[in-house]
Each structure stands twice: as structure tokens, then as C-alpha cells.
């Protein structure tokens, strides 16, 4: 349903405040873009938002993001109300973090993306899920999953505080291997490169 001029102005003002990182004219552009996307989407949501497919296409064409697992998760973080569609508010506020978020906001966002089941921890299994296609060259004599499992161990060792360090020659792991947000935050503050440790979920500078 088309919004009245006054309604729209109120929306833009309120979004400019809540999203914090955009100017009013930038918010206006984003709202216009939103309308275009809604028009493209199916009318399933009666113009209130657009769905996962449109979202993924947009992020791909705008930022070159291709990882399906990640894109799915990004959609879920945007879709705060869990309705299967992105509203204009979710759209603008989500993009604010993506494009101009402070380190704190980005850390929370990335963690949420990687926390596949939303339980507040990134578990070994979740890491495995996200990294399983990351090994392009497998040594011939190794089982295909061994390499990824090792990589998960490496990541855990680097970032988790509850992980017991064991030398590489022993294969005995502590089951309790998972990352809390505190772990993640600490690791990223020490080394910014680990912000997107489990897959690119932020747009590139280029």
C-alpha cells in the first residue's frame, strides 16, 4: 500500500534516528530502493516486505556475496521478527550495520550470523558447517573431512577460552569446544582479521 507523504517523512525521520549511521537523504534512497525490491518480489507479503530470494539476489549484485550458508544467515539476522520477509525498518537498520557499523555492532552482527542455531554459542558442528567447503586442495592420503575438522580445531584453539590446548600429535579433544560471544569479541579485538572468521558476511571495500 502506498504511503502518504507525511507518513513517509515520519518513517524517514524515525529511521534516520534508529539506524544512526545514515544521513536523511541516504535513508530516503534506501527506502526508495526498498520499494523497488518489494515491487519485484511476490505479492505474498502484501507489500510489507520482500523475501529471501530477492534479498540474496540484491546482496549478490550489490556486494558480490555468494556464500549460500552465510547469505541465509544474514537474511535471518535482518529478519528480526522472523516473518520470512524483510520490512523497511529491518532493511535500513540492517544495512546501517553492514555498511557503517562500529566494531561493536559488526561483532554482534557477525556472531549472530555464525551462530547458526541461535543458541548464543558457535559450536564445533556449526563451524564445520561453515568451513566445510573451505579446503580447495585436499591432500590425497587424507579423509576429506579430516582437513576441515583440523581447521575447526585450529580456529577453536585460537578463539575459545574454554578450549584445552593439546599438541597436534594427540587427537583427544575436549568436547566442550564452543565459542561464546565473549570469546569471539575478545579474539576479534585482539585480531581484527577474525571478524569474518567463518566466512565473508560483510561487504568488501572495493
Amino acid at each position: 500500500a502506498a504511503m502518504s507523504r507525511k507518513g513517509r517523512k515520519l518513517l524517514v525521520d524515525s529511521l534516520t534516528r534508529s539506524a544512526k549511521h545514515f544521513s536523511k537523504s541516504e535513508v530516503e534512497c534506501l527506502v526508495k530502493l526498498f520499494d523497488t525490491l518489494v515491487a519485484k518480489a511476490s505479492s505474498q507479503y502484501a507489500g510489507a516486505g520482500f523475501d529471501r530470494t530477492v534479498f540474496r539476489d540484491t546482496l549478490y549484485s550489490a556486494f558480490g556475496m555468494t556464500d549460500d550458508v552465510v547469505l541465509d544467515r544474514v537474511f535471518s539476522t535482518f529478519d528480526k521478527e522472523n516473518r520470512g520477509c524483510i520490512t523497511v525498518v529491518e532493511w535500513v537498520e540492517g544495512l546501517a550495520v553492514l555498511l557503517r557499523g562500529t566494531l561493536e555492532e559488526k561483532m554482534k552482527y557477525c556472531f549472530a550470523v555464525y551462530d547458526l542455531n541461535g543458541d548464543g554459542y558457535i559450536s564445533k558442528e556449526e563451524m564445520f558447517q561453515m568451513l566445510k567447503d573451505s579446503l580447495l586442495i585436499q591432500p590425497a592420503d587424507e579423509e576429506p573431512d579430516e582437513g576441515v575438522k583440523d581447521l575447526v580445531e585450529i580456529a577453536l584453539k585460537k578463539m575459545a577460552s574454554t578450549y584445552l590446548y593439546v599438541t597436534f600429535l594427540l587427537q583427544d579433544y575436549d568436547h566442550d569446544g564452543k565459542l561464546s560471544f565473549t570469546d569471539f569479541e575478545k579474539a576479534v579485538r585482539e585480531e581484527n582479521l577474525l571478524l569474518e572468521a567463518f566466512g565473508p558476511c560483510l561487504p568488501d571495500i572495493k
Binding site: 585460537k158 585480531e191 582479521l193 577474525l194 572468521a197
Partner: protein, 626 residues
């Protein structure tokens, strides 16, 4: 003349204490053949760097930094597992996170000399230079700082230049405006770019390249900033480049001396040291010496002498004082600050690099009469004479000059003589280094002149006269000049002159007559003048064909040459054959012009010589016509 003694300059003020490692460094043999635990750990991670996508690569790179990358076992493990190549290949991708992760490691391990050479061999430098143009600030800083580490050897520095690295580094420095409101990343960029330039500036061609890229006004600009960790590499670069006259000119004209002097009072000893080193190098120029004084730099320099713990700083400061003391007005200033007294305390228990400069400074200060007495009163003569037994040639050159300077005071001379100082100087005439020989000979002049019972003293040195006469066979101009000066003094004693004549001093001096060097002409003429006063030496000089060349000396432009030549010709003109030769060589006309000189000695000698020639001419006339 004694600038050769600045060979200690290379060691002063360089933060890397290594000497230049141009040859391929040799790997130390490991004790055991077992590969270290680090090796296996790194190899495991290398697998992901080689075979993983950017996400896996970044995880592995971050993990690799948990190893102690400053330890040689880790550094070499990275090289031996083939990981180094991979790290460099990563630099060549467009993946900023991978490039960043890789550079963070390369920056650490490039502290190792073997790794540096390997990075250069693998083409890593070219890629790092390219990265200097990246839009990512963090990446640029890492690249610059890594270049600073790798460029510690000549070939690497050349590579940086050949790939346009110098230009890019200068542009980096230029891109940040020096103002009061910096962002942290601007400070970091400036610091890293300056570090890289400093490393690169150690090669002469790079010094030129920096200048051509417009680097000098930038250095001047950044010299005014207040961040110590930017200032240190900036001053380091200036100090390095100050060996080039074009830089010294700019340092003078762009007001940099003021900033250098200001930073002498910094709290950071490293910065103080580099400022002092820069002044040390620049003060070769008289104008700079004056500027240092005008900007009140002499006082802080003198004050820094009290900090005798930091030997590098002390060496730099004493060096700066030494060179500044070449100017008389500066010496007078130093007297106000009691610098000479402090320097004397530094004559003992100091490393060589400090001693060379301390003694150099005292040598310059001795040019002022008052200081010769000060040195004596502070008990400085004895340690100085003691240093005549040193083996370091740069040190000896300076000691000789200082002892010579002190010897101009007769009271000092007593002490020097009692400590056997003259004999020590004389034996330095045997030193293989011509600079040492020359400086010893110069020092002997005042010694011979001022010692009590000088003639006897000289005779007491066994083989001494033969030794010094034989030095007339040297090929070194300075040696010849100084020896002539010494012989002129020694010849004032008749007995010694006789002995020197026996050793062939006349033909040896005559052989030197055909020279273009005014200083040599002057002292040679003086020597000849004094050597005439024995037996038939006047005739011998004539027979040795010394007269005609001497006559030509009168055409030189130097008044000191005229005086010495006139003296010599006057003595030689006592012999009629010499008069004929002089007449044939148009001496009379030239001498006539000098008869009106304000220099009394010249006047008298010229007149006397002309008189002798005329007398002979008259006698000849009479003999002809009866």
C-alpha cells in the same frame, strides 16, 4: 685535512647494529637433525594457507602468529616448510585480509637476516612496493614497515628503488598534512613510511632518489612534528643523507638546524642521539657550524656530555662537538660552558668510538691558547700522551693533532717531553698509514720548536733523522708537506742539519720542487731555506736543479708561498751560480714587486736576494770589462 677520521661515523647513530650484509648470509648448522615442534606446527598451518580459500587462509595465518615469530626456529620453519613462498604469493592477490594476515607475519620474521634475503630473492619487495599504493591504510603501513626491515641490505634497497618504491614512500609522507590534529592512522602511516625511507636511505643512489622525488622539503616539514616515533626515523634519514652536500645545503636553507637543536633537549635519548649525529655529519660546512651556534645548540651539546652511560649517545655528541669546534667562535662558546674540562674527563675509560671524537674535539680546541692551559690544569696531557700508543689509526690521527696543538704551549711541552711524548710521536712516523704519518709530522713541528734542548732531544732518537729524511720519498702529498715543515724546524739546529745532509736531504728536497701544490711549495721552500745553512748545501741545491722551479713559485698567488720562496731564494743567492739561474728565470722583476710588501720578512728577503744578484752582475761586468 683530518676528515678521514670520520670513519667512526658509520657506526654512530645507526639503530641496526649489524654491518651491511651484502653477501648471502650463511646458515648456522643446527645441533640436531630433528625438526622442531614449531616446524610441524607451522607445516600443518601452511597446508591451509596453501590449499584453503581466503576464509581458511585467514584462520591459519592468525593462528600462525601465536608462534613466537621472533625466535629463529620459528622463522626458519616458515622458510623451510615452503610457507614463505605462499606468504609472498598471497601478497600478490587482491584479497585484502589475506594480504594483511601475510604481511603481519612477514613483518615479524623479516627481522631475521636469512629471511630478508629469501624475501628479496622471491620477489617479495616488488609486490610490497605495489601494495604501497593500496587504498587500505593498514595494508600500506604493514607493507612500509616490512620494507623497512627487508631493506637492510644493499641489493634489497636497490630493488626498492628500481620498482619505484622511493617515489611511493615519499608520496605516502606527502599525503598526510602535518597539522596538530592527526588521526592515529595518519601517525602510523607517517611512522612506517619514514622507517622505510630511513632503511632505504643507506644507499647512495637512494639518497639521490629521495631528493629527486621531492623528499627534502618533506623531511623538513616532518622535522617540525612532535611525535617522537615519527621524528626518530625522520632525523635518522636526515643524518644518513647528510653525507651528501645537496642535503647539507637544504638542511641549511630550510631551517632544519633549528629543529635539530630543539630536539637535542628531547626526553628520548635515541632522538637526541640521532640529532647529534646529524649535526656531526653536517658540521663539515662552516655555515652549518655557525647556524648551530646561532640557534644556541652548543650549550645542549655540552650538557649532554654529562650523560656518559649511553655510549652511542656520547659518541654522537662528542662527534658533533668535535666538528663544531672547527670554528673558532664555537670554541670560544664552548669555553663558556667549560666543555674542555668535561672532555678531559672523558679521555679515560671510554670506548674507542667516543675517544676518537673526544680527542678530535680537544685537538680543535687547542687552537685557542687558553685551552692549552686548561687541558694541562685538568691533567689532560698525560692521558693524551698515553693514547699515542693506541693502534686505531683514526684515533692516532686525532691524538697527533691534539698533542701537536698542546705542544704549542711551552709548559705543556715540558710535560709531553717528560712523558716521552716526542719519541712516541716520532715512532708514529713508521706507521703504515700516511694520515698517521702526516699528522705525526705536523705535531712534531711545535714539539721541536718548543722543547727544551730540542736539538739534543732529536738526536737522542736513534735513527730518527734518517727516518724522517726518508719520508721525503713518500707518494702522499700531505706526508711530504708535513715532513718538509718538520725538517724546516729540525734544520735550525746545525748538528742535526749536518746529519740530515749526510742522509741526502738536499737531493730529496730538490726532487720535490716541481709541484703545483701551494701548501707543499710553501713548506718545501721553508725547508730549503733552512737547509741552506750548512756547508755547501746552497751549491748542492743549485746542482740538484732546485733553483729554477723555486723561482717559478713566485708566480703563485699565495702570499705565504711568496714569503717562503723569497727566504729560500735569498739563502740560495749567496752562491753565484744560483744567482745566474735566478736571473735567467726573471726572478728580479718578481721580487721587486715584493720589496714593497707589508710583510717584513718578505720585504727583507726580497731585498737581500735582489742585492745579491745585483752584486754578482756588477762583479761580472767588472770582470768582463776590467
Amino acid at each position: 685535512i683530518f676528515s678521514k677520521a670520520s670513519s667512526s661515523l658509520e657506526d654512530v647513530g645507526e639503530s641496526s647494529s649489524e654491518t651491511d650484509e651484502d653477501e648471502q648470509p650463511i646458515r648456522r648448522q643446527e645441533g640436531s637433525t630433528d625438526l622442531s615442534a614449531e616446524y610441524w606446527g607451522i607445516q600443518k598451518l601452511a597446508k591451509y594457507v596453501k590449499g584453503g580459500d581466503p576464509t581458511a587462509t585467514v584462520i591459519a595465518l592468525c593462528s600462525m602468529r601465536d608462534f613466537n615469530l621472533s625466535e629463529e626456529t620459528c622463522q626458519l620453519a616458515i622458510k623451510d616448510t615452503g610457507c614463505l613462498e605462499v606468504l609472498i604469493n598471497l601478497l600478490d592477490t587482491e584479497e585484502i585480509k589475506c594480504q594483511t594476515g601475510s604481511l603481519k607475519i612477514l613483518k615479524e620474521i623479516s627481522q631475521n637476516v636469512l629471511i630478508r634475503h629469501a624475501i628479496a630473492d622471491l620477489g617479495g619487495l616488488e609486490i610490497m612496493v605495489k601494495i604501497l599504493g593500496s587504498p587500505d591504510t593498514n595494508l600500506k603501513c604493514l607493507a612500509a614497515e616490512t620494507i623497512a626491515n627487508v631493506a637492510r641490505f644493499k641489493r634489497a634497497r636497490k630493488t626498492v628503488r628500481q620498482h619505484g618504491g622511493i617515489k611511493k614512500l615519499v608520496e605516502l609522507l606527502e599525503s598526510i598534512s602535518v597539522g596538530s590534529s592527526y588521526q592515529a592512522k595518519d601517525i602510523e602511516t607517517a611512522r612506517c613510511a619514514a622507517l622505510a625511507l630511513w632503511s632505504c636511505s643507506k644507499s647512495t643512489r637512494n639518497k639521490k632518489a629521495i631528493r629527486k622525488a621531492g623528499g627534502i622539503p618533506l623531511l623538513a616539514r616532518w622535522l617540525k612534528c612532535s611525535h617522537t616515533n615519527i621524528l626518530i626515523p625522520i632525523v635518522g634519514t636526515l643524518q644518513e643523507c647528510a653525507s651528501e652536500p645537496s642535503y647539507r645545503l637544504a638542511i641549511r636553507t630550510e631551517g632544519m638546524i633549528e629543529d635539530l637543536v630543539k630536539n637535542l633537549s628531547s626526553e628520548h635519548e635515541e632522538l637526541q642521539m640521532h640529532c647529534a649525529s646529524a649535526i656531526f655529519k653536517c658540521a663539515e660546512d662552516e655555515e652549518i657550524r655557525d647556524l648551530v651556534r646561532k640557534h644556541e645548540g652548543l650549550q645542549p651539546l655540552s650538557a649532554l656530555l654529562d650523560n656518559s652511560e649511553n655510549k652511542q649517545l656520547l659518541a654522537a655528541v662528542t662527534g658533533a662537538i668535535w666538528k663544531c669546534a672547527i670554528s673558532r667562535e664555537n670554541v670560544l662558546k664552548f669555553q663558556e660552558y667549560k666543555t674542555v674540562e668535561t672532555l678531559v674527563t672523558l679521555l679515560t675509560n671510554q670506548p674507542e668510538e667516543v675517544l676518537i671524537n673526544v680527542i678530535g674535539a680537544l685537538g680543535e680546541c687547542c687552537q685557542e691558547e687558553e685551552n692549552r692551559g686548561t687541558i694541562r690544569r685538568c691533567g689532560g696531557i698525560a692521558p693524551m700522551v698515553q693514547l699515542l700508543t693506541a693502534t686505531n689509526q683514526a684515533l692516532l690521527v686525532n691524538v697527533n693533532k691534539a698533542v701537536g696543538g698542546c705542544a704549542m704551549d711551552p709548559e705543556n711541552m715540558l710535560i709531553i717531553d717528560s712523558l716521552d711524548g716526542v719519541r712516541l710521536l716520532w715512532s708514529l712516523l713508521k706507521n703504515p698509514n700516511p694520515d698517521v704519518q702526516a699528522s705525526a709530522a705536523w705535531a712534531l713541528c711545535p714539539c721541536v720548536e718548543n722543547a727544551k734542548n730540542s736539538g739534543e732531544m732529536v738526536r737522542s732518537f736513534v735513527g730518527g733523522l734518517e727516518l724522517i729524511v726518508n719520508l721525503l720519498k713518500s707518494k702522499d702529498k700531505e706526508v711530504l708537506t708535513s715532513v718538509c715543515a718538520a725538517i724546516a724546524n729540525i734544520a735550525k739546529d746545525q748538528e742535526n742539519l749536518a746529519v740530515m745532509t749526510d742522509h741526502g736531504v738536499v737531493p730529496l728536497l730538490s726532487k720535490l720542487a716541481n709541484t703545483n701544490n701551494n701548501k707543499l711549495k710553501r713548506h718545501l721552500a721553508e725547508a730549503i731555506a733552512h737547509c741552506c745553512m750548512w756547508g755547501s748545501n746552497r751549491v748542492a741545491f743549485g746542482e740538484a736543479k732546485a733553483v729554477a722551479p723555486l723561482a717559478r713559485y713566485l708566480k703563485a698567488k699565495d702570499p705565504l708561498v711568496h714569503r717562503a720562496t723569497a727566504l729560500a731564494l735569498y739563502q740560495l743567492s749567496e752562491d753565484p751560480n744560483n744567482c745566474i739561474i735566478m736571473h735567467e728565470n726573471g726572478v728580479v722583476k718578481l721580487l721587486l714587486a715584493m720589496v714593497g710588501s707589508t710583510d717584513d720578512a718578505l720585504q727583507e728577503a726580497a731585498a737581500g736576494c735582489i742585492a745579491n744578484i745585483r752584486r754578482l752582475a756588477l762583479a761580472t761586468e767588472k770582470a768582463k770589462y776590467g
